[in-house]
């Protein structure tokens, strides 16, 4: 594992347990269509890929640059809407996907540049407030411009034929699973997220990434060495925004739909924040661990609690059926989050690497 990662980033996992966990997760995601057949498991696997890449792009900002942004879902939304509007307007064509990306990625980077120029010159708390305001304004705008975005209903669109579920690539099932356009779409999402993650890992371990870490630790000290802290922060913001937009485009392609709830919701912002904190800020690998655990909990905790609640009810145990009622899954997710922050202040990856907590 170490030797595989060294040429890519010079930043190996530095923990046997972490290396094993990462290998298992990557293998499970790579073989997900065949290991976990069915629409829901594949949907969860795609969501895990998407949230890993999205959280990694946010870790570049929060963990490596020390910048708190609430506009990350806005950039994610720009990518989603870019693909959605393009495919909706031009039809299910590959060049529409290309055009959507060609417009969305620079738009996200440009907007990040403008926000950064206006607000990263001052304290980062001011930047956080500005991003919150801009993200809220963008969400309202997306909702109001219904002729373009579909408003609150969002936009459903068709994808090119090769990606459609009805397209069968191999007439006979492979390992009991039909290989269709949906399978191909999953592998496009998976491969793109792997490439994005490796690119981000390379960025944070480049000389530029080291300067970001220095700025996060002490901006004045970094300035005294001759580094323009504002320009470095802005560039990090632009890279993170473009990466988030790319992930948003993948999400839209997977869902064949874009709407405020799936791309601009503030709850997605909270999800990313929790994933980065639970996984371990400033580690990149934390996005893989945190993203996997969080999306699995989000999708299966409710069902697990339902089973526990029913079993407890049948056994005649008092209180437990109410306590583990599936409707209370968010409460338990919150408890899990508080416990993980309490016991692993440096995140799961920080703990596995032998850091504090």
């Amino acid at each position: 594992m170490t030797s595989r990662f060294m040429p890519l980033s010079g930043d190996p996992p530095r923990s046997r347990a972490l290396s094993i966990a990462l290998i298992l997760i990557v293998l499970a995601l790579a073989l997900a269509p065949f290991l976990f057949p069915g629409a829901k498991p594949l949907n969860v696997a795609a969501k895990v890929c998407i949230f890993i890449a999205l959280a990694a792009s946010y870790d570049l900002l929060l963990g490596y640059t020390g910048v708190v942004s609430f506009a990350h879902t806005m950039f994610y939304g720009i990518g989603s809407y870019g693909i959605a509007i393009s495919l909706y307007s031009l039809g299910a064509r590959w060049d529409a996907i290309g055009l959507g990306l060609l417009v969305a990625l620079p738009t996200a980077a440009l907007l990040a540049l403008v926000i950064g120029l206006f607000s990263l010159r001052v304290q980062t708390i001011f930047f956080a407030m500005i991003t919150l305001a801009v993200a809220s304004a963008f969400a309202v705008l997306a909702s109001q411009l219904s002729w373009l975005t579909g408003g609150e209903d969002g936009r459903s669109f068709r994808v090119p034929e090769l990606l459609q579920p009805g397209t069968v690539y191999i007439p006979r099932d492979v390992l009991g699973v039909a290989v269709t356009g949906r399978t191909l779409t999953y592998y496009i999402v998976f491969a793109s997220c792997v490439v994005l993650f490796l690119l981000l890992l390379r960025v944070v371990n480049s000389p530029f990434g080291r300067v970001l870490q220095a700025i996060r630790e002490n901006p004045f000290r970094a300035e005294a060495l001759g580094y323009r802290t504002v320009m470095h922060r802005i560039l990090a913001n632009c890279i993170a925004a473009a990466a988030a937009a790319a992930v948003g485009a993948l999400n839209a392609l997977w869902l064949r739909y874009t709407g405020p709830d799936t791309s601009l919701s503030f709850s997605i912002m909270l999800d990313i924040l929790l994933i980065v904190v639970i996984g371990g800020m400033g580690t990149m690998y934390g996005a893989i661990i945190g993203g996997t655990l969080y999306v699995l909990a989000q999708n299966y905790l409710q069902a697990l609690m339902g089973t526990v609640s029913t079993a407890a009810g049948e056994a005649g145990i008092p209180i437990l059926p109410q306590l583990f009622h599936p409707d209370r899954w968010l409460l338990w997710l919150g408890v899990l989050f508080v416990l993980s922050v309490y016991f692993f202040p440096a995140g799961i990856v920080g703990k596995l690497r032998g850091g504090p907590g």
Partner: protein, 240 residues
């Protein structure tokens, strides 16, 4: 000898506090100038004002004849001024190597210069790939110091490098400073330890209440015990 750095009537306000009241100071090229004075006299603020970390509210600062008081801190650093703060200023999350690479222009370190630095500070070679946060206080100070030496600078601003260090490490620092000086570097050094100041200083500025109240050669100050008493409230004899 011409002055590489000149401060003329420099005023600095921090918030509502008026810290520097018209500092006049010249740092001759190729010499080591000691900035002495009691705690709170304005020595650190003077260095931070030169670096642009506090903005001068009045007067002018010239470096190599050019005004630098309106420049940003990165621009001042790139003009050739290295700064070693007093607080063991390392980047804890980065390794010793990464700390030094950050200070090297274009990220390339000169191996000969690196070996020269290792000669003075062997622990830096030993802990080359260790996180700086895990080093001892003395090792952090060595690293902070080494970072300012990894590239030749026209001027080094060093703030109390011996503060809180063991005598053996102070010795290594003095040897290193002497060697840097021998190579022709210009240094402005804030130091509380008069023995250290005497060992390496050529010229001296004594500060009190945000002003330079005395400027002259170190030899004059060392020879004149009454002046030491009057300016610094000490004498070499009581500081042995």
């Amino acid at each position: 000898m011409s002055e590489l750095l000149t401060l003329s009537g420099v005023e600095t306000h921090i918030g509502r506090y008026h810290i520097l009241h018209g500092v006049e100071l010249g740092v001759p090229e190729g010499q080591t100038t000691m900035l002495l004075g009691r705690n709170g006299a304005g020595k650190t603020t003077t260095l931070r004002t030169i670096m642009g970390l506090w903005r001068a509210s009045g007067g002018e600062i010239r470096f190599g004849g050019e005004r630098i008081d309106a420049l940003s801190t990165p621009a001042i650093a790139r003009a050739g001024i290295g700064y070693v703060p007093e607080t063991m200023a390392v980047f804890s999350d980065l390794t010793v190597k990464e700390n030094l690479v950050l200070a090297a222009r274009e990220g390339e370190m000169d191996q000969t210069r690196l070996d020269w630095i290792f000669g003075f500070f062997p622990p830096l070679r030993k802990f080359w790939l260790s996180r700086a946060g895990t080093l001892s206080g003395g090792q952090k100070q060595m690293l902070s110091f080494a970072r300012s030496l990894i590239e030749p600078r026209r001027l080094l601003l060093i703030d109390e490098p011996t503060k809180g260090l063991a005598p053996a490490i102070i010795g290594a620092l003095i040897d290193c400073l002497k060697e840097v000086k021998r190579r022709g570097a210009t240094i402005l050094l804030v130091e509380q330890n008069f023995r250290v100041a005497q060992a390496i200083g050529d010229t001296v500025g004594v500060m009190d209440n945000g002003r330079v109240v005395h400027a002259g050669t170190m030899a004059e100050l060392v020879a004149d015990e009454a002046m030491q008493q009057r300016l610094l409230g000490l004498s070499l004899d009581t500081h042995q």
